[in-house]
Every structure is written in C-alpha cells, then in structure tokens.
Symmetry: C2
Subunit: 334 residues, 2 copies
Amino acid sequence: MVTLADVARRAGVSKSTASRALSDGRVSAATREHVLRIAAELHYVASPAAVSLATGRTGTIGAIVPAFDTWYTATLIRGIAHAALRHDFDLLLFELGEHGEHRDRAFDHFRRRRHVDAVFSANFALTRREVGALRDLGIPVGAIGGPTPGIRTWCLDDEAAGRLATQHLLGRGHRDILFAGGRPEEPLAMYVAEEARHAGYLSALRSAGLAPRPRRALLPTVAAAKEDAAAAFAADDRPRAVVAASDEIAMGYVLAAREAGLSVPADVSVVGVDDHPHAAAFDLTTVQQDPAEQGRLLIDWLAGEIDEPSGERQHTALAPVLVARGSVGPAPAA
Amino acid sequence: MVTLADVARRAGVSKSTASRALSDGRVSAATREHVLRIAAELHYVASPAAVSLATGRTGTIGAIVPAFDTWYTATLIRGIAHAALRHDFDLLLFELGEHGEHRDRAFDHFRRRRHVDAVFSANFALTRREVGALRDLGIPVGAIGGPTPGIRTWCLDDEAAGRLATQHLLGRGHRDILFAGGRPEEPLAMYVAEEARHAGYLSALRSAGLAPRPRRALLPTVAAAKEDAAAAFAADDRPRAVVAASDEIAMGYVLAAREAGLSVPADVSVVGVDDHPHAAAFDLTTVQQDPAEQGRLLIDWLAGEIDEPSGERQHTALAPVLVARGSVGPAPAA
DNA sequence: GCCGCCCGTGCAACCGGTTCCACTGGTACC
DNA sequence: GGTACCAGTGGAACCGGTTGCACGGGCGGC
C-alpha cells in the first residue's frame, strides 16, 4: 500500500508539503503539480482511517431507517444514496428491523461508533428521547418525516395531500366519502403521515359542510386493504368514493371492488397517495410524492451543514400534486 | 471524548495493559475486571478510526447494489442489514444508480477507500473485469446472483423455478404455455435470472414433448407487462396459460386479463415467480423465494470469511417452492 | 539452592495522515 | 540599507489505538 511518505520521498519533499499539495494548503504551484503527478503515478490514495483519526472527519453519513422493503423507504434511500455519492459521502445504513426490534440499539450505535459526520432518520416518528440522543451526537441531524421539534425535517405536506385527494372527489360531485388507512396507535411515521392525511380529509369535508364516514383503520398493505375493502363493499351502505391513505391501500380497494363485481370508477371512485410504480397499471388517480427528491433535499442540506453548521431546525412541507387517472368518476345520481 | 489513555490512567495501569484488558490479551483476571469497570464507568468507547488504523480492520461490509426500489433488492438489503447487525458489522451502501450510471465508479470506490473488511454485489451480473477488480481488493467477496466464476455466490435456482412453474401448469393439463419476461441484452442479474427461468420453462416443455410459444420479452414492471399482455390477449390465439418470469409481470398479465374481460383462472392461468408481498392479494400462484434469507446466508459466510478465509468460490442454488393460490385452473377442454 | 521458564506488565514504536511552529529567503517599504 | 512581512517548506507533535519486545518476579524442576 503506497502511503503519503512514499509520495513525499519520491517527489523529494517532506510529508507536510506533500499533504498540503494534495489538500489545498499553501504550496507553490510548481510543487503542487509535481506532487500531484507523482501521486497519480503511484496511484496514491489516502487511508481513510488515518485521515479520520487526524481530522475527525469520516466522510460518511449515517442512516437510521425502518425495514425498507416498502416502496417509499426504498425509493427514498435510492435518492439518498445517489445524492451522497454526488457529495462524495459514504452511506452507512442502520435498519430498525422488521418490527423495530433494533430500535433501542440504533441511537446508542451511532454514539458508540462515532464514525459518521451526520445522521438522519427516515420514515418513523422519533421519540423525544431519541431526538435528544441524536442531538447529543454533536453532528448535523436531519429527518424525513413529520415536523419534529429540535430537528430539521422534510416531508410531503400530508394534510394538503389528504385535502387534495378529498377535494378531487368533491369536485366530481361526491358527497359521501370514505377514508381508508391509519393505525394511530403505532409510532411509525407511516401512521403519522396517514393521520395527517386523514386530518386533511376531515378539513376538506368540513369546508364543504359534509360529514365524514367513520374512518377505517388498517395496516398499510395491499392484502390488509383488500380484506378491509371486501367487508366495506359487502355492507348495505357500501362506499361510492374512497380516499385511501396510500396507493397500496387504494390498490387493495380496487382489487376488492373488482372481486365484488363492482366497476372502478363507475360503481366506486378511488384516490390514493404516493404515485407508486404500480399505480399506473391500476389506472389509479393519486396524489404524487417523490421520495427520491426528498432524499436529495435532505442530503444536500446535511452536506452543507457538515461544512458549516447553520443550526436550522425548521420543517419543510413539500407540496403535493394530483395525478388524474381513471379511477375517479362522477358521483352517482342522487 | 474519553480515550484509552484516560481509562489507563484512572485504572492505574499502562495503555497496553488497558488495551489488552479490553480486547482479550493476556492480563490477570483482577486487572481485566478492574479495567473493564473503569471503562464502563467512563463510558469509554474505542475510536473506530484509531482501531482501524492500527489493525487494518474496519468493522464494515460494503454493498454494491443496483437501484433498489424493487421489492427484491430492498428485501435482500433488509436481510443483509439485519444479519450484519447481528455480526456487529456496519453496512456501507454503494448504489449503481437508476440506470447503472455510477457502475464504473463503484469498483474503484472500494479500492480507493479501503475501509471495508468485505464486499459483495447483489442482483446484477458482474463482468469479468469487475470480478477481477473485486478480487484484487484482497478481502472476502461474495455475490447474490447467478454462478460467477471466481466468486462465492448464492441465488434461487432459477432454472428449477421456471421448470416448477411450467410443470405446475402441465400438471393441470395445459399444453400450450407462454413464457413472459426477459430482455437478455441487458446485463442486470434480473435478466440473467429470467433467462434461467426461461431455460427451465423450455426444459419442462421439452421433457413433456411439447413446443414452446415464442417468448415475449419485456421490461420486468407491472406497467410493461400489462401493456404486453393486452397485445397478447388481443391476438387470435390468445394464451390460456402463462409462466411469468416474475410476480410483477404476472400481476400485469392478471390486470390486463381482467381489463380484456377474461377471468383468471377460468379463461387464463398465470404462474409467477417471487412471492411478492402483493401476490396474495392477486391470488397469484407463484414460485417462492426469500431474498432476506439469501442475504442472511451471504453475510454469515462473509463474517466467517473475515475471521478466517477459506477461499471457497462455489455457487449455491437455493431450491424453489411452489405456492399454490387461485390463479391456475385446469386446461380448457380440447 | 540455583537455574530457567512463563506470566503479567510497561515502554515505545507504529499505523498514516494533518497541522502547529520554526526557519529561510525574497520582496516591499520606509 | 535595514527592517517587517510573507510565501514556501521541513521538523515534529499529535490523533488513539495495537503490539513487539524487554523486564521483573514467582514458581517448578533438578
């Protein structure tokens, strides 16, 4: 392995001069060029461990994420990995486990191994304790998720998304609209988001002077939604219009509708949230969000913060966009 | 930040003794216990940079993965993250980009920053050059994917999976079976896998003395499959039985069938491969694989290899399992 | 009772960089 | 012409661990 000393010796300068030439210390232009050429010839690469030991910088960003075999988290991480690479940071992944079983270890982990320059959490709601643990690390901290006091955060404006979806149905004349999704007792951000989307739904109905239906709470999976929908469609007052808290839930409702012999959108209109990659094949009208873009925003900010901390803590709510497809039709004649 | 010197001073011993007490060097039991207590009191944690500089070990495993907003890759990474945590390794993620645009950088990256104890690639086919680049790192290397000379690999026995799916249809009396999927010109493992599944399909038909239909090549997404299926179902000799190279393709076929007014399985039988989380909601008969388990196997092996290299290089083909649901029916009467 | 071995410990070198400080030589300014 | 300053460079300390080697003391074997 070729070291800085090798480069220095070969270039006929001291280690310090070689080091300065390779970073951006004060050296004459001629020396710098010479050292750089030698370094290139020797294929010299600085040892990250040594750099890290000397500078305290690690060139790595830590991620704390829940089990990410969901479209949302996986796409988010894709955006994050991409942006991190652009800033020349490595990405260190800590996963909370399928049922959050490693959650306790996560925060201790980054404290113990102080080998990241910044940390973020994504897609789950931090407890006050956890917020404190992250801030105690003394490095920049961000999060993808709902507004969280003390941390810079980004996420879709979920309330606006719920409102937008509901208003879209109202605009087609629907007056009796069901909201499907959410298990508020669970602390995952997924449910925090669904809660906010539900609030948007309520607000839209209230503005229109309409009464909500009782909310149908369920796990945010296609399978769970389908089962729930089957029950809903079997009832006497089966829903004619549904705001689903996510596209996966919407897909479950569409599948169940077809199985119940109902046509979408003639017999029932459905709006989702996400613009999941499968949404187009379901011809699903939905409220779009772009997790990869959210990840980019987060990393760009963290990279800047590592350079010179601003200590900002505010929340950024990203504007939702409605994507109209074929799963919404006019309300049935009264 | 409390250092080893602090612990040593407080314990009244030298740095070396403290170090040995904390690892497993030779120290008297009394000294060890004493040092450990002091270290705990002081919440001492070794600096990973210093350890890494001194030992060459980093406690990190590097991952090279394609854009992982697919179910397969995301689930694989979940299994890997879980297993790595169990072995007390960190996971460093390198993502190839949505269209493989960072692929060239990936291999150089791990060479330059020599800060991982092992590397693996997942879910794409390595070129001979890339295999060489990985092996040149001088650390254990593994891969999730097809057999690759020179590297220890794991993956589903894709040929057996294709055969199993086809035989399942043959067993219900089908004689005219279509295979949907695969774009062999692309180098992603996805297509390597589809190629092998197609080979299994051909082999099953050959054994039964039947002729294959011309293969329908398409991108492995629900949307692409749906579009392709719409064309297939509009033809005069529309297929009555389909082996899809993946569940997402199968879902596209099911959606298209319904839209064409065809009933599954009465008018057309469909078998997928994967057991995707949405498969149950589609009532899809499929050949199961468990990416998380594959990830576990990989990491367990790598962790052992880091400890004491065996230099093994063989391929492990994992046996497929058929999950029978409702998307397959008997062949139509001749 | 003496020799030799081994256990437990400390000293110091080392891993591979960065950076403070001192030094030199040249230039600008008075 | 002398002084002040500054650019450019080298020496050496330092980051925080690990580990080879030397040393002292206790104990077993003859």
